[in-house]
């Protein structure tokens, strides 16, 4: 996972965006010879995890402590296909949020080519699936 020098939130000095680079897998591609549209959501999840890691938190440890994030809303606009073995970059930005929600914006790029743009809304839940405020240490 490669990351560009992250930009930072001036208040907290924590990065609010990262770029996760990855190679398109053979099994992610379909008979049209391009990455299947469902895979973009997986790439976006990986980028969110890396953003959290840059911010000093590890999602695996969140779950071990009973803090989960579930996807409540997902919007993607696909512009150009990604092909097998392409190196792509997922740019993700965490948006200031309040309460139980976290929002992210994404650009999926192959160098200068913009392949897709997307937004997600996550909700923080406890192990019973009940919404809970995002712990302040995990705010973007």
């Amino acid at each position: 996972m490669e990351q560009n020098p992250p930009s930072t939130d001036s208040q907290s000095d924590r990065p609010t965006r990262v770029v996760a680079a990855m190679r398109v897998r053979y099994t992610e591609c379909d008979p049209m010879n391009v990455a299947h549209h469902s895979v973009y959501t997986v790439w976006m999840e990986i980028a969110r995890t890396e953003l959290l890691r840059e911010q000093g938190a590890v999602y695996r440890q969140c779950e071990e402590r009973g803090i989960y994030f579930v996807v409540a809303r997902l919007n993607i606009r696909y512009k150009k296909p990604a092909k097998y073995d392409d190196m792509i970059e997922v740019h993700v930005e965490g948006l200031p949020c309040a309460g139980v929600k976290v929002e992210h914006r994404y650009q999926i790029r192959r160098g200068d080519d913009l392949l897709a743009t997307a937004e997600t809304t996550l909700v923080c839940v406890n192990s019973d699936g009940r919404a809970m405020p995002v712990p302040s240490g995990l705010l973007p």
Copy 2:
């Protein structure tokens, strides 16, 4: 694949909606013990294919004839989780369209429980990936 008696388009007597029932697979579920959010797009694709089949067309044959549909836009709102081994129903409705695009609306349900709602826009393309008018025989 079970389907409810389809409703029909009065002009063409072709169904404009179907319900595709399926069982949530173990491998579709994640450590939260629920279906991963990326899988909903796969279920929606299966339902679109079954709608096309009810309308008298087979997507595999479309591709063999050089007619492809690519997803250009995807919106999903997740409301309740689907669990492993649940029987779920994907309700899909094809919307009247013009030109190169086809729109669909979805409800993913488990009986009375509404699990998610979604919309997609597909674009009809030829084997070079260029947009082309949807052949009239394939209009919803």
Copy 3:
């Protein structure tokens, strides 16, 4: 999930084999325009689950009671490709076992075409991942 009339174990009158029929999904296929070889393991898992269901047990309930089955060994020989939208049948047979292991044999077929043969060995474990004897009610 369609099943042929199951053959039965004369001692217990429980079936020892079933046939699970399913349609090859678009997302299961790769740029060679055939089902990716990793997907066969998913189909085999579905067939095992259906065999267990025919035998009167539901794997989801096993896990809820702290009984898990993990795959310890997997052998597959691929003979002919499965294509998108093909209807395939996974024939699975549970073998008499003793102790902590369960063995299964598989044929993946498309009508008269034998697409693959396979065997797996599962180990019964508790929620700590420790091997435990297969509960007698779950023996094939």
Copy 4:
């Protein structure tokens, strides 16, 4: 994709083994909170591709030239589970082969922990799916 300094084949000075490192994805894990057994085949495919790349060939270009490799045989023995967010290493070795087949051996490791061992046999085929001799430039 990180790779250890590859060992080389003395005759050809081409490496015969590489190590592909990767992080276990959330979507690759199942309700048991470990990587699903089907995912190991995906990791092995990635490692084979990286071995080919180290040897000077790019599998995507092979397919563009009408040279395909299909999996004919797959054996895996699972020893310890891989967990979400683990960094794992897939050690792959290409074995000397003759004719239409290529064999590989694998160890999937997490540092000192051996998670699984495996072997595959691939067959080289043309765009019609007919077996053909492995081009000498692609021999391990």
